[in-house]
């Protein structure tokens, strides 16, 4: 049996506390030990809660002070900090937003006494929270461990003196605690508090390197998230005044209408800012200046998931209202647009960022579709996307440290140069791209769920097609190799790199192999907590829905057999290897791809990939995409009022 007090303390307070310690203790050895130990603890804790199952929890007052009063103090500290950052940067926008948010929160807390009045439990840990806790615990820990090595190298490379890693790990660990708090919270004001802490961490981490660009992008992330904060606060006020509750579980338990529905719409918008949905995508792209572990942890696998988590959480509350199809359309819209934008990017981290935005859009679309099947798809995506995308970011970060570039063009033939890193990165891509891996299973479920919502379905169809394009050409780039019969020479990696990388890669594949269990043990319950059915069940060969079936294992087996057959059936003999076709002008017999050209001279063959910037470039798409996105969000609100 779980000792709930301890559990909550370890998952929320302990990381924060460890963060504070690391802030003041600069020794690398202690840092390493702390992070490693904490990772193990978080993983164990998340597994324990999985075994334990759902519970609710309201902490006893701490030394006589009610937690709600602590919350007010916490909010005040955050406001002060944000105000300070805004003032320091001379950003009227930020100062104004902070002021507005402070006013709204103060109104909620003091005039409406929204915090005090609730007697609902502060924390409500259901199956969905548990899924999130697992993601945070396992993927988050892997990334934190990876960061240990990464940041050493990073600071060496940038010649940072003295080390700023104490600050860095402070933010990272604080974030892990806040994230756990966020997914466990039942009380919206508490959720909001953790929400704002993650905003703070994100701000600090984006600006971590201290360059002008980093500062600028951090500020952009801050103000956009503050917009979300304002929407969040406004949503809470609306809910408090109309539905008279701020407990998530209660709000979700029944279909809301009128002002409460508008409140939900506000919260959905808040979720969209955190999930960097169009038109708020630019902060997430800017966040890519941060060291890569930050991108992996905050900006793909966990923090941005807070936005979609909130929407999924609340989805039962607007099931059957007009808000549902609109959320679905808005999400699907971001799904396709971000996928299109990803096609035009050659910066690997930006591709990953757009793909993240796109997938978050898909999750929101599923929340909007709001059926058991759709929600199953959404939760499946949260899990599989977190693993694969975390892996991809880590892979790209490591590759960048090896080749000094994150440009996809520079990754040509990487498979030969750094096979292990490339292979794990390719596993990341393959698990995002190919059936029957989890992401695709989720897409399949999403499409089947969407078939009744025409516009969303069309957007999903187009988006899926575009997704194939950018992943495949990136992967192609990394594989493109001149003829050679030489064996690959595997590079040696620090275990702090290889364990998280290989671990996540294995997890990405194993989770698909174990999809039946994932569905019945993790995702099914998370859905059936709130919906009458599960939507997806595991059948003989794979997953079965009410309208279709996906024989995951059959296909996985076929795939495995094919790869083995191919490897066995194609022995590479030295003399079988021929130069590529160069219209008869190969220079070397094999091994390189130079050719003879003008005046019998040697010409290096060069091959560029395609980005279709003329059609799909940011400047082309954003011109119409952002206005449409704004219109969609506005109509979201409008339809809630109707």
């Amino acid at each position: 049996m779980l000792m709930v007090d301890w559990f909550m303390a370890t998952t929320i307070l302990l990381p924060a506390l460890a963060g504070f310690v690391l802030f003041f203790v600069g020794q690398p050895a202690i840092r390493r030990l702390t992070v490693l130990a904490l990772s193990v603890i978080l993983i164990i804790a998340s597994l324990l809660v999985l075994q334990n199952g759902p519970f609710t929890y309201s902490p006893r007052p701490l030394a006589g002070v009610a937690w709600n009063q602590l919350l007010v103090a916490g909010d005040a500290v955050l406001v002060a900090l944000f105000f300070y950052f805004g003032w320091r940067a001379r950003s009227g926008l930020i100062v104004g937003l902070v002021a507005l948010q402070a006013a709204l929160v103060a109104y909620l807390e003091f005039a409406l006494a929204g915090v005090a009045a609730d007697n609902a439990p502060l924390f409500y840990v259901d199956h969905l929270s548990i899924v999130m806790a697992l993601v945070i615990g396992i993927v988050g820990s892997a990334i934190a461990v990876y960061a240990l090595h990464y940041m050493d190298h990073h600071e060496q490379h940038l010649r940072v003196e003295p080390s700023r890693q104490p600050k860095f790990f402070f933010s990272v660990l604080l974030f892990l605690g806040a994230m756990n708090g966020l997914v466990f919270a039942n009380s919206l004001p508490w959720l909001f508090f953790f929400w704002e802490v993650t905003t703070l961490c994100s701000f600090l981490l984006i600006g971590h390197d201290g360059t002008e660009e980093a500062q600028r992008n951090a500020l952009r992330a801050l103000w956009m998230n503050l917009v979300g904060g304002v929407a969040f606060a406004a949503g809470m006020i609306l809910l408090e005044t109309t539905a008279h509750t701020l407990a998530v579980a209660e709000i979700a338990a029944e279909r809301q209408a009128g002002g409460a529905l508008l409140g939900l719409a506000f919260l959905v918008v808040a979720g969209c800012t955190k999930a960097a949905q169009l038109p708020f995508q630019s902060w997430l792209l800017g966040a890519m200046v941060a060291p890569t572990p930050v991108s992996a942890l905050l900006h793909s696998s966990t923090m941005v998931k807070a936005g979609v988590y909130l929407i999924i959480r609340l989805a039962p509350g607007f099931e059957g209202t007009l808000l549902s199809p609109l959320v679905a359309t808005a999400g699907a819209y971001t799904f396709v647009t971000a996928a299109a934008l990803a096609v035009s990017q050659s910066n690997a981290k930006r591709v990953l960022a757009y793909s993240t935005i796109s997938n978050l859009g898909l999750i929101i679309a599923c929340a909007g579709l709001n059926s058991a099947l759709a929600i199953s798809a959404a939760v499946l995506l949260i899990v599989f996307h977190a693993v694969s995308k975390g892996l991809l970011f880590l892979g790209v970060g490591a590759i960048e440290q090896y080749i000094g570039s994150r440009d996809i063009e520079a990754m040509e033939g990487l498979l030969r140069r750094v096979p292990l890193l490339t292979a794990v990165t390719m596993i990341g891509i393959l698990t995002m791209l190919l059936p029957p891996f989890g992401v695709l299973v989720a897409k399949w479920a999403a499409l089947e769920a969407a078939a009744r919502v025409p516009l969303a379905m069309l957007l999903l169809v187009a988006g899926s097609a575009l997704t194939v394009v950018f992943w495949t050409k990136w992967m192609g780039r990394m594989m493109s190799a001149a003829p050679s019969s030489q064996r690959l020479h595997v590079e040696s990696l620090s275990p702090l790199f290889s364990i998280p990388l290989v671990g996540l890669a294995a997890l990405a594949i194993l989770l698909t192999a174990a999809l039946g269990w994932v569905m019945s043990g993790l995702i099914g319950p998370a859905v059936s907590d709130w919906y009458p059915t599960v939507g997806l069940a595991s059948g003989d060969n794979g997953l079965v829905s009410s309208v279709g079936a996906f024989p995951v294992w059959a296909l996985l087996t076929v795939l495995a057999v094919l790869v083995v057959v191919a490897l066995v059936a194609s022995p590479v003999r030295e003399k079988s290897v021929r130069a590529v076709y160069a219209c008869g002008e190969n220079l070397a017999e094999s091994g390189d791809t130079d050719f003879r050209s003008i005046g019998d001279g040697t010409q290096a063959m060069s091959l560029g990939s395609y980005y279709y910037v003329g059609v799909l470039g940011e400047s082309k798409i954003n011109r119409w995409a952002n206005p449409i996105a704004i219109a969609l969000l506005v109509s979201l609100m409008g339809v809630a009022i109707l």
């Binding site: 003008i598 005046g599 019998d600 001279g601």
Partner: protein
């Protein structure tokens, strides 16, 4: 194998014409000093003439380079002489299309051309094991 009939050609001509007395010559051919070349070419370009081609002739110790122009099917020729070892100025600034024939002259005669936009370095037509400057007369 079938044996065909004798070809139907009429091989035996009826009239016999004596050879012409004076050697034939090219009409509208003007000898110009090398220094005048570019201005004259520019003038042709200004008139809208089409550059037909260049012809290089090895005169032994010097080259004669003929510039052939066409204006409404009327030909106009300039002839410039250039001692072996000197460099021929390229006319590509006026007629870009001359780059091909100038490279060819450089290739086949070893006459260096100055100011080529694309220089094939004596490897336009010839290659490593080709004979060197094949169009020079054997002396």
């Amino acid at each position: 194998m079938t044996t065909g009939e004798q070809p139907t050609s009429a091989l035996r001509p009826a009239t016999i014409v004596p050879p012409a007395q004076a050697p034939a010559r090219i009409e509208n051919l003007e000898r110009i000093p090398l220094a005048d070349l570019l201005p004259r070419v520019r003038a042709m370009a200004a008139q809208g003439a089409r550059l037909v081609t260049l012809t290089c002739v090895d005169m032994g110790g010097a080259f004669e380079v003929l510039y052939h122009f066409d204006l409404d099917l009327q030909l106009q020729h300039f002839s410039a002489q250039i001692p072996a070892g000197d460099k021929l100025p390229s006319i590509t600034s006026e007629y870009l299309c001359a780059f091909l024939v100038e490279n060819e002259i450089a290739d086949l005669f070893g006459l260096q051309v100055e100011g080529l936009p694309v220089d094939y370095h004596n490897r336009l037509m010839l290659t490593e094991d080709s004979s060197d400057r094949p169009l020079l007369r054997e002396r």
